[in-house]
């Protein structure tokens, strides 16, 4: 009888344990670097924005399939071409208790226009913002802008009262010097996760926001993020079960993950184009042995560079066949892409040598390329490969590869574009070519917030004019024709050297279900653990 009671008890205990709904689900993931700052307006970089998107939210948001849906806005309308009425969601609370309302939206927009902000280009799409009532705002754009709400998905809303109380009403500058800025180390958004512990470059711990207004499908209660710089270490940690998800997985390790039990690679085409940019505006290059003039101002030199790059070799050897060589700055997923213009420049080093000689540099010259080493798939290796290819036409390229935090602090507008030649990747946040035109191909213009990420200041008035028109054109066919025209000019003048679209390359443990977005954002809302 005694044993029977014991057994009964044991079974009952087990049953209770199994039925308990409060089972902790911890999700551990790793990326190759850390976010530089928790300030959601400090750096316009997809990884940082995606990471902070778990804590902060914007008026609109993207679903797993990159469809635009309302988030903190309940709905919006566009009664006049340059006027938007945005209705806000009621009853939303910030994680530290403040109420969300129209003041927070206007405050956040203004904060994005402050000196240290990297979101000026996005905030500059709105000329004026007015409060109509507590849950309605009116936004005026400088010209008609059909894709305003696509861009607004990345302009995160902060709590006005909280920001003023903690003296962080202006954005942290990624260049540093404002370490005391409260928003740098603390976050208070409306999102589904709360940051409970933050140790830069070591780990960040998230816990579920129980008061979240939405109903995401995730079942995780805690998230632990660790930056792991070494690719091999990251892969080893996934295989050994220490981590649930890692990205990026080095492309050469896909086979290894397929063979290992309990894990699998997760891949797909990413909408990000990797390209090299050149300083084509300064009178003298900052990092070159040529003094008194700028060889890259000469279109022949830029053409020589373009024809010296063997994209096929980068595709085959550096990317192991996992990339798509590109001739355009936009990927096929992006609105405005054109198959005909996407043919890469031909590989023709003899032509390059001839062009260099014509331009007056028969023996080439020296230049330094700035390169991140933990941002994109094989970023440093692409720079090294490009250096090797350019060496063959006599151009001696020194590769200056640094972690992304230092790289961005050096080359961004906040540091006056301190570079002569650089590697960058770009996914248009709005999934539309206009974003590329305004950020990468327009002349640098601080007042109009244009060309903010055009580090080399490639400048052509015709493209600027077309960009304005594309921004307000609503007829798709006309719009496409204008986009094509602008891209054609940029291509003929070799504004940039497109390399490829990189693959999405994640590794996950079995039992983890996650949506892999084409913009390479890991949204914790979509993570379900078994």
């Amino acid at each position: 009888m005694k044993t029977f009671t014991k057994r009964l008890l044991a079974v009952a205990t087990l049953a209770i344990l199994a039925a308990s709904p409060l089972q902790a689900k911890t999700f551990k993931w790793a990326f190759q670097g850390d976010v530089q700052s928790l300030d959601p307006h400090a750096l316009n970089e997809t990884f940082t924005m995606g990471f902070m998107g778990n804590v902060y939210e914007a008026l609109s948001a993207y679903t797993d399939d990159l469809e635009l849906v309302p988030a903190l806005a309940e709905s919006w309308s566009n009664p006049e071409p340059s006027k938007w009425i945005i209705k806000l969601r009621k009853g939303v609370k910030f994680q530290e208790g403040g109420d969300f309302n129209a003041d927070d939206v206007i405050f956040s927009w203004k904060r994005c226009l402050s000196e240290g902000s990297d979101m000026k280009g996005r905030a500059g799409l709105i000329k004026e913002m007015k409060k109509i009532d507590d849950y309605t705002v009116e936004a005026i754009t400088p010209s008609p802008n059909p894709i305003l709400m696509q861009e607004m998905a990345w302009l995160y809303i902060m709590d006005k009262e909280w920001s003023i109380e903690h003296k962080t009403a202006e954005t942290t500058n990624v260049k540093g010097g404002e370490e005391g800025n409260y928003a740098n180390m603390h976050a208070n958004g409306t999102g589904p996760f709360i940051i409970t512990d933050r140790q830069p470059d070591v780990k960040t711990i998230f816990k579920r926001n129980e008061n979240y207004w939405g109903n995401p499908k995730t079942n995780i209660t805690e998230g632990i993020f660790t930056p792991v710089k070494q690719a091999a270490t990251r892969v080893a940690a996934l295989i050994s079960g220490e981590l649930d998800l890692i990205y990026p997985v080095p492309v050469q390790d896909w086979k290894r993950l397929e063979k290992a039990s309990g894990v699998k690679p997760l891949s797909g085409p990413e909408a990000r184009t990797i390209f090299l940019g050149m300083d084509s505006s300064r009178d003298e290059l900052l990092y070159s042995n040529i003094k008194g003039k700028n060889p890259l101002k000469d279109v022949r030199v830029r053409k020589a560079f373009a024809h010296a790059l063997n994209l096929e070799a980068i595709h085959k050897k550096v990317m192991r066949g996992a990339s798509t060589p590109a001739g355009l700055l936009v990927a096929p997923q992006v609105n405005g892409f054109s198959e005909a213009l996407n043919t890469p420049y031909s590989y023709d080093p003899e032509l390059s040598k001839k062009l260099l000689a014509e331009a007056g540099y028969p023996d080439g010259f020296e230049i330094t390329i700035d390169c991140p080493n933990n941002r994109y798939v094989n970023d440093e290796k692409i720079c090294q490969a490009a250096a090797g290819m350019l060496a063959k036409i006599g151009v001696k390229v020194e590769v200056f590869a640094q972690p992304k935090s230092k790289y961005f602090a050096k080359v961004l507008a906040q540091n006056n574009y301190d570079t002569s030649f650089y590697l960058l990747g770009w996914t248009p946040g709005s999934m539309d070519s206009h974003n590329v035109l305004i950020n990468l191909l327009s002349c640098q213009n601080k007042e109009k917030k244009m060309g903010t990420f055009n580090f080399g200041n490639y400048c052509n008035a015709e493209i600027d004019a077309l960009t304005d028109k594309v921004g307000s054109e609503t007829n798709p066919a006309k719009r496409q024709a204008m986009i094509d025209k602008a891209f054609k000019i940029a291509k003929d003048e070799v504004a940039y050297l497109p390399i490829h679209q990189q693959p999405l390359s994640w590794g996950v443990r079995d039992g983890v279900s996650v949506s892999q977005r084409a913009d390479n954002v890991l949204d914790l809302r979509s993570v379900v653990l078994q």
Binding site: Q230, A231, A232, V235, A236, P250, Q252, D253, K255, R256, N310, A313, I314, K316, K317, V318, K381, Q384, A385, A387, G388, M389, A391, K392, K396, F400
Partner: protein, 305 residues
């Protein structure tokens, strides 16, 4: 000349050398590695650091015995940028050897000088120098080297750092190894100091520096050279460790440690040759130098046995 050779052939050293096959093998390996790496620009089949001569299309080729993929131009395969592994090893071990020898020389000179002063110079000087040595001994050598390299990195601009990386490494490794020399020399100096020939020199008024240089130094050098031989292997390993951790030499002028670190990224993907071959080269070099050093110590210094 003939006489010298005859004397050498008749010596204990040569006798014990010929009796030990391990030592003979080590000597041959050391000789081969040292000579090929010092002559690397002439011996190596490719110049791996001349960007003009490497081709990305040759990247990640396996060693030549993989019949289907191997390429006869690249005996041990190529790395991710298309550089010949054999050539990078030759150039890499050259840098490793140069740094090893230079840092041993540096710590030997520093250690012997401080040891002589300490042993000859009165109790106060002795106590001062030996306490510094004690403090330094309480840190692992690799930590000191890391510290010095870290400081150099933060004060020098990045372009300059790459240029002076070799000297920083020599200094960092050298400074972390002087204590052993100083201790040994101090002990023998104290013994020699009380001997009659030194006292005689003092009596006739020879200056202390001259006594140290001409009378004591020659009598304390024996053990020092033996320690130096053993230290060479340690210095090479320390340099490889630092470079493996990414604080040593940059990938543009890689040592064996840098090569192992770079290849490490490809270990999972089955491209083992990028990291294993430099690894084998490092093991062979360090092991054979170490065995030779041990043998020298055992033969020349029977007291230790």
């Amino acid at each position: 000349m003939k006489n010298t050779i005859a004397r050498a052939a008749d010596s204990d050293l040569w006798y014990s050398f010929r009796r030990s096959p391990i030592v003979m093998i080590s000597a041959v390996i050391t000789l081969v590695i040292v000579s090929t790496s010092l002559l690397a620009p002439w011996v190596a089949p490719h110049d791996p650091f001349n960007l003009v001569s490497i081709d990305l299309m040759d990247a990640s080729l396996p060693p030549v015995w993989y019949a289907d993929l191997g390429d006869s131009r690249f005996l041990l395969g190529t790395d991710d940028q298309g550089r010949d592994i054999l050539s990078t090893i030759l150039y890499g071990s050259r840098i490793s050897l140069i740094i090893g020898m230079a840092s041993v020389t540096f710590s030997l000179i520093l250690g012997v000088a401080l040891g002589l002063v300490s042993g000859y110079g009165g109790p106060k000087v002795d106590a001062f120098i030996m306490r510094i040595a004690d403090i330094q001994l309480s840190f692992p050598a690799i930590l000191i080297a890391l510290l010095i390299d870290g400081v150099a990195r933060s004060i020098l601009p990045r372009d300059m750092h790459d240029q002076v990386a070799v000297y920083v490494l020599i200094f960092a490794i050298g400074i972390s190894g002087w204590v052993q020399y100083a201790r040994t020399v101090r002990g023998s100096t104290m013994v020699e100091k009380s001997k009659e020939y030194v006292q005689a020199a003092q009596v006739i008024g020879v200056r202390p520096i001259a006594i140290l240089w001409r009378h004591i130094l020659p009598n304390v050098m024996g053990p020092v050279l033996v320690i130096g031989a053993i230290h060479l292997a340690i210095a090479i390993i320390t340099e490889a460790t630092l470079s493996f951790l990414g604080v040593g030499l940059p990938p543009t002028t890689p040592s064996l440690g840098t090569l192992i670190r770079v290849g490490n990224d490809y270990l999972f993907s089955g491209e083992w040759w990028i990291t294993i071959f430099p690894g084998i080269a490092l093991v062979l070099l360090a092991l054979s130098v170490n065995l030779l050093g041990d043998w020298l110590r055992d033969t020349l210094n029977p007291k230790i046995q």
